[in-house]
């Protein structure tokens, strides 16, 4: 049965490059449109000015054919369009987009994507340390806990190439928003308290000028039952996740069975940073 299923997947060139669990929850090929991915915003009451500062401006996604000033449109890995996240041209700015669904079984979950990142090609220089980080996080709630696995590839910091995977379990302060007592918010993507994934250094194929893109494979496995990150893979590297833990907090009102997947990109310099997602597949054992 498993061989037959694998043969069916392999017969489809779009799905053949993934290793999904038994149930495909969603498969988003951005040649078909935005597929339910949108800009993240924090919580507010009465006035947008009540947003925590980090949540004010996380930028809408675009459908991009990766057009470059020198060689024109690169297209995506499969077809023409990728989902593009773009920061502002301010060092430390992040662009964050997500898709919101719910889960129906506390079992294994798998996220796979083909992605790449680049700075805006405003200079005729290599610019390989201009993108600070790209990352993925999950925002999940069950009957007892809200838990948020955060993983990022820290490409560079303050101009120094670091090229390593990190995670964040530290809980930023949960702050009251507005006056009703119903709304709270925490800026969990704050740049502090990130920790290294053991042996997490990885040099990705950046290529040799700022306008050349190579696509990378990433896979993250979670176990919704034990609330653990069980696997991180990027291209040929599979990481030992001993001690790699999610952010954990008590369950909150209005978030039952939440299953959000969030991607982001952060710039290290006063230049826009771009994260491109060719396609995203979320699957589960249910």
């Amino acid at each position: 049965m498993e061989d037959f299923r694998r043969a069916l997947l392999n017969a489809d060139p779009r799905l053949g490059k993934f290793d999904p669990l038994s149930r495909i929850i969603y498969y988003d090929d951005f040649d078909q449109g935005y597929q339910g991915w949108s800009e993240l915003i924090g919580n507010y009451e009465d006035d947008l000015s009540s947003l925590l500062p980090g949540y004010e401006d996380l930028r809408p996604p675009m459908l991009s054919n990766a057009t470059m000033w020198d060689t024109g449109s690169a297209g995506s890995m499969e077809g023409n369009y990728a989902l593009k996240l773009a920061t502002r041209a301010h060092a430390g700015h992040i662009a964050v987009d997500l898709k919101r669904v719910t889960w129906r079984h506390r079992g294994p979950l798998r996220l796979e994507t083909y992605f790449t990142f680049k700075p805006e090609a405003t200079e005729l220089r290599l610019s390989e340390t201009d993108v600070r980080a790209v990352g993925v996080l999950f925002d999940i709630q069950d009957s007892e806990n809200r838990w948020m696995p955060h993983l990022r590839y820290l490409n560079a910091l303050n101009g120094e190439q670091l090229a390593k995977w990190q995670f964040k379990r530290y809980r930023e302060p949960l702050l009251q928003i507005g006056g009703t007592g119903k709304t709270r918010s925490h800026f969990h993507l704050a740049p502090t308290h990130w920790e290294d994934v053991p042996n997490g250094r990885q040099i990705l194929c950046y290529n040799e000028i700022a306008t050349k893109l190579n696509w990378h494979y990433m896979r993250v496995d979670l176990d919704l039952a034990s609330r653990h990150i069980t696997r991180l893979q990027c291209n040929d590297r599979i990481y030992n996740l001993t001690g790699v833990e999610p952010m954990m907090m008590p369950a909150m009102a209005n978030l039952w069975c939440m299953l959000n997947v969030v991607f982001w990109v952060e710039t290290d310099v006063n230049k826009r940073a771009f994260l491109y997602l060719d396609s995203v597949l979320l699957s589960g054992e249910w």
Binding site: E39, M62, L63, W69
Partner: protein
């Protein structure tokens, strides 16, 4: 198959004063677009100010497309654009002493 439509919020609660430009938006898949400018709050003389639609081949270098969005006293103003290639943005300049806290939306259709 129905036609794709997508609305991007280019600016939210941003204060325009002096010279300003929205972030580049890549939308070559769309064949028509409408910029909406919703004014949450204004000070000084904003009515009559002209915002210009710009296009770009690379998202870096910009040219006036010649569509103009003129600010009025209404809550929302808009400008329609067609045949714009791949990148769009809106630029403008408010007179000294004037400012507008705005939401700028770009409604795109295949």
């Amino acid at each position: 198959m129905v036609r794709q439509n997508y609305t991007a919020t280019l600016e939210r609660n941003r204060v325009f004063q002096g010279e300003f430009a929205t972030e580049p938006y890549e939308c070559g898949w769309a064949s028509e677009a409408i910029f909406f400018v919703r004014k949450l709050e204004t000070t000084g003389r904003t009515v009559g100010a002209k915002l210009r639609v710009q296009i770009s081949a690379d998202g870096i270098r910009w040219s006036d497309e010649e569509t103009v969005l003129r600010l009025t006293s209404a809550e929302v103003d808009f400008a329609r654009v067609k045949h714009f290639g791949n990148f769009l943005r809106l630029v403008g300049k408010l007179p000294k002493g004037a400012s507008a806290r705005v939401i700028v939306s770009l409604s795109l259709k295949e």
